[in-house]
Amino acid sequence: MREKLEKLKQAAEEQIDAASSPEQLKEIRVKYLGKKGEITSILRGMKDLSPEERPVIGSLANQVRGQLEEWIQEKEESLQEALLEARLQEESIDVTLPGRPEPLGTVHPLNGVIEQIEDIFIGMGFEVAEGPEVETDYYNFEALNLPKDHPARDMQDSFYITPELLLRTQTSPVQVRSMESKEGKVPVKIICPGKVYRRDDDDATHTHQFTQVEGLVVDRGIAMSELHGTLLTFAEQIFGEKLKSRLRPSYFPFTEPSVEMDISCVQCGGSGCRMCKQTGWIEILGAGMVHPRVLERGGYDSERYTGFAFGMGPERIAMMKYGIDDIRHFYTNDLRFLRQFQSI
């Protein structure tokens, strides 16, 4: 009996090993462990054994049965594993084929740059103000120290609608409007992005419509060094690098002293290239200390308060930052141009 069990165990082991499919394994299980299986029939034949032998053989038979179950289980798992492996092999794909395109448009690069400018100044505590594009002569010129017949009006030929209404030529009118709405409270810290219009023929460097970002700070004791610091901080953030800056005297009717700010060329770092016309410097904005008359017009006592204002062209900044060579691209809306700014 013992021998028979040992043989049976050996035969089963060989068959389990040889099994190549779950079906075969199932047959083996039935053959040995099924209701009419060989182990079962041995256990059934136990009654013919002597009482001494019965527990010994019984325990041995159970041991063999356990062993077979374990082997079958193991074989089952390895067969399933092999099957899965084979299926996965069959399922393999060319991973270099292009992905299914999900639609991705673009934010217009000009608006993208304006958002960057806004975010930098918001980080410095500025609010974003807005003003009308159809402006009164008063806010566009007079309140900014540019009376009718002022020579500086030549600098910007305007689109008038009536003698008193025009398309704003600059975002500066928002300076006085912002001061008025603050009703004498300080600090005033605003920037104003927006569209402006001038009678220029459209060419590679001019468009009759373009954008500006105006900035204004009014508080007690605001100094030109703070204008310089604020603008340098801005420039370093927008161009993402350490820069050198310099101020040059300039003229705007609504600031005094007035400055133009140059930064070290973002293309060549200051060694001289085509973009900076070999000077190492590029002009990025105009600015100055708010003219006392403009402060007064905005309702602020120019003895108690001072301020600075600045104005820059997002087109120019975008052109320098991304190496764009023709301002008209911003208004042609050629998709071959726009798509280049998906990551802006």
Binding site: E115, M124, E127, E133, F159, R220, A223, E226, P253, L335
Partner: protein, 808 residues
């Protein structure tokens, strides 16, 4: 303003300062130098030569063989083609080995068999600005009238060894519109001495001529001076003066005109010479023009004046437009022997208005417009008289007659030291400030931390304290201003909720595959009329008064037509499809003539046409339709928290009548969405095109009202039942949806449409619509009975309201 380096050097010693260094100093000081132009464009080995003999060329009618003494020992034989070459002339000779502008090299050569050792040059060949030259110098060879030795370098003689700086002056620095003004500036920047010529009045010789001056328009002309010179001889001005005029970009004409121009460049004071014989009664009246009065100016054009035009008249007639251009009748021309020389102050506003009215700008008017220095009116006149006597002969036959109303006030401006350092944010030393005013030649007294600065009349741009602060700052050096950050009260920076929402909307559409465009606000009325807009009723396009073109005539009242234009542009550049949007302002006013600012309203428009995505190797549906666009809009609405918008079929002009809807919010129409009418689309070479346009304000207002609150997650299971209906095909699905929700009440958690079809199975004029309804209660598990009862109620309501039948 073009500034000759050599001329400037006469007033301020520029030793050790190259033109480039000078340009840098000026630019850093606030007078921007646009360009530095050396007049010598590579000219080498061109010398003076004396034409000894001119003989015809044996084999060429147009050529002549010249014998020229160019100081080279032996005379040179030079073949010359210019008809004006003649014996006895002094001419510029390019010797063999010479260089001319443009890299031209002169070699010994043979012309039609005759050898030629060099070339006699024209002005143009030497790189002189031939457009400015008198006609006789433009054609043929240049002749040098001044005596000189042969073999001398011609560059100094023709001023070609000079360098010209081009100043880009800001409107406040009109003081630098003269050599004197630039000299003051340079002397201050370099801290050097200044040497300006002194003048005095020349006293009349012989019988004096009468001049009477009447100022009839005091405000426009408070100061007028004149002097008469008799017996002048017109002719060319000396070469050195012509050289300087050319360097300044002024055309030499004759000695009298050249001298008035020269003094204008020198002093900044425009002068005018009248032919005294044409000044009736020896009387000058400065008055405003009468209605309909005309003047023929010396360019031969008859000009209609208005009541603001300031005229110079004699006893009987106008003889010039003050400060702008002289009259033809009193022009100095051949035969003129007696001059009346004018030097005056004309009010900037007056000249500006007249110049604009007449569309006439001159060197003179541009200076008067900016205000001339009243202190220089008499010296300039004296200087011109002196030069005329010297270079045009004649004698002075009157005293300087001048008429003046009011006096020039001394301007004293106070500057507080503390204000200066406070505003600049830098501790400038008192000594530095005093030194800066010394360099500027502004007499200054100091006391109690205050500088009392006397501002000379040549600097009318300085009138208040900050003007002085700017002067100090620019001479102290802007680059010495440190960088600090505002330290005062801090303020939180942020976008307003509306600004943030506009960004979210734009970014959401970007994420949905739309490209943002920026179009011009100015467009044509025809463009705006292509499509009805949501603001159609209110929109009356605003015209600008002087459009630059028909395409840019009115302010836009809608955005979508320009998006079609942009789509067309891109389709013509081989794009298979485009998806675009724009968020921008339109301009709305009902006024016929604008009396106040229009409403500027933010609009959002989008458009999609053609196959937007490139073909993919896994084929799939690629062509957008109405529902693509509607889906994108609904996603955008969801993103900003709007769920209450409804779409109702509509037939606005320019759209497909069966595929267009108005978008409503709380019953108000706020937008349009639909297929662009095939005819409208075809006009732009577009196939099936879908567009939308929305007014932003109501959406933003609603979105900002939303109160986002968390809702407890359901604790009890839900039950889903489908509902397949057959209804009249005209019934909008939105109506069925509304009925279902109303009947289902609060236990109906969600309704989703999953199938719509028409066909024989459902019968003609009918459609099958299938919804999936999910029921759920917050406080218990719904029983089958409860759900059945609810579902039946929904069906009953659908039957009652829409004649709906359960599909079998």
């Amino acid at each position: 303003m073009l500034v000759s380096y050599q001329w400037l050097n006469q007033y301020v010693d520029l030793t050790g300062v190259t033109p480039e260094q000078l340009a840098e100093e000026l630019t850093r000081g606030g007078v921007e130098v646009d360009s530095i132009q050396p007049l010598d464009q590579g000219v080498k080995k061109v010398v003076t030569g004396h034409v000894r003999k001119v003989e015809p060329h044996p084999d060429a009618d147009r050529l002549q063989v010249c014998t020229v003494d160019a100081g080279q020992g032996e005379p040179l034989q030079i073949v010359c083609g210019a008809p004006n070459v003649a014996e006895g002339q002094m001419v510029p000779v390019a010797l063999p080995g010479a260089r001319l502008p443009g890299g031209v090299k002169i070699k010994k050569s043979k012309l039609r068999g005759v050898s030629s050792s060099g070339m006699i040059c024209s002005a143009k060949e030497l790189g002189m600005p031939d457009k400015l030259l008198p006609k006789e110098q433009q054609e043929g060879i240049l002749t040098l009238s001044e005596p000189s030795d042969t073999g001398e370098d011609v560059k100094p003689i023709l001023g070609l060894d000079d360098v010209v700086l081009e100043l880009d002056l800001t409107p406040n620095r009109s003081d630098c519109l003269s050599m004197w003004g630039v000299a003051y500036e340079v002397a201050a920047l370099l801290d050097r001495e200044i040497h300006l010529p002194e003048t005095k009045e020349e006293t009349p010789e012989g019988k004096e001529k009468e001049i009477e001056i009447v100022l009839d328009a005091e405000e426009d002309c408070p100061f007028y001076a004149a002097q008469v010179i008799e017996g002048i001889r017109l002719g060319p001005s000396p070469r050195w003066m012509q050289n300087r005029l050319l360097a300044a970009g002024v055309r030499p004409i004759n000695n009298v005109v050249d001298i008035t121009n020269y003094v204008m460049l020198e002093y900044g004071q425009p002068l005018h010479a009248f032919d005294y014989s044409q000044v009736d009664g020896g009387e000058i009246v400065v008055r405003r023009a009468g209605t309909g009065e005309t003047v023929t100016t010396l360019d031969g054009v008859t000009r209609a004046c208005n009541e603001e035009t300031l005229l110079i008249t004699d006893e009987t007639k106008p003889i010039g437009i003050a400060g702008v251009m002289g009259g033809e009748n009193s022009e100095v021309k051949d035969g003129t022997t007696t001059l009346l020389l004018e030097s005056a102050y004309f009010a900037p506003e007056s000249i500006r208005r007249t110049a604009r009215h007449l569309g006439l700008r001159s060197e003179a008017s541009s200076r008067f417009e900016k205000g001339v220095d009243p202190e220089r009116i008499l010296p300039a006149l004296q200087r011109a008289v002196e030069l005329i006597r010297q270079y045009a002969g004649g004698k002075v036959v009157s005293r300087i007659k001048s008429e003046r109303i009011g006096a020039i006030d001394d301007v004293t401006v106070e500057l507080r030291h503390q204000r200066l350092t406070g505003l600049l944010g830098v501790q400038v030393e008192k000594e530095s400030v005093i030194d800066i005013f010394r360099r500027l030649r502004f007499p200054t007294e100091v006391g109690d931390g205050v500088y009392r600065v006397q501002v000379p009349s040549r600097r009318p741009d300085i009138s208040i304290e900050v003007d002085l602060i700017e002067e100090v700052a620019r001479l102290y050096g802007y680059d010495r201003i440190p960088t600090t950050l505002p330290w005062g009260q801090q303020s939180p920076g942020a976008l307003t909720p509306e600004q943030r929402l506009r960004r979210v909307i734009r970014h959401t559409l970007r994420d949905a595959g739309f490209h943002e465009v920026v179009n011009y606000s100015l467009t044509s009325p025809a463009r705006l009329n292509e499509l009805d807009s949501v603001l159609q009723e209110e929109a009356r396009p605003i015209r600008i008064s002087m459009p630059m073109s028909d395409e840019r005539k009115v302010l836009r009242t809608t955005l979508l037509p320009q998006l079609m234009e942009t789509a067309e542009y891109n389709i013509h550049r081989r794009e298979t499809g485009v998806a675009l949007f724009e968020l921008g302002r339109v301009f709305i006013s009902q006024e016929k003539k604008l009396s106040r600012q229009p409403d500027e309203r933010w609009m959002l428009a989008g458009l999609v046409t053609g196959a937007v995505h490139p073909p993919h190797w896994q084929k799939g549906e690629n062509t957008p339709d109405f529902f693509t666009l509607k889906g994108h809009l609904e996603m955008m609405f969801a993103r900003i928290g709007l769920g209450t918008l409804t779409f109702e079929a509509a037939q606005p002009a320019g759209y497909h009548p069966g595929r267009t809807a108005v978008i409503k919010q709380d019953g108000d129409t706020i937008g349009l969405i639909g297929q662009i009418h095939p005819k409208t689309a075809a006009a732009h070479d577009l196939g099936d095109t879908y567009g939308f346009e929305l007014e932003l304000a109501p959406i933003v207002e609603k979105a900002l009202q939303q109160n986002l609150r968390y809702q407890t997650l359901p604790k009890y299971p839900d039950t889903t039942r489908d509902l397949a209906l057959v209804v009249d095909e005209k019934i909008p699905v939105a109506d069925l949806d509304r009925t279902i929700r109303s009947a289902g009440g609060e236990l109906l958690r969600s309704v989703s449409l999953f199938d719509v079809f028409t066909g024989e199975q459902v019968g003609k004029g009918k459609k099958s619509v299938a919804f999936s309804l999910t029921y759920q209660a917050a406080d218990h598990t719904l029983t089958d009975d409860e759900v059945n009862q609810l579902h039946q109620e929904v069906l009953n309501r659908l039957k009652a309201e829409h004649d709906a039948l359960l599909r079998q």
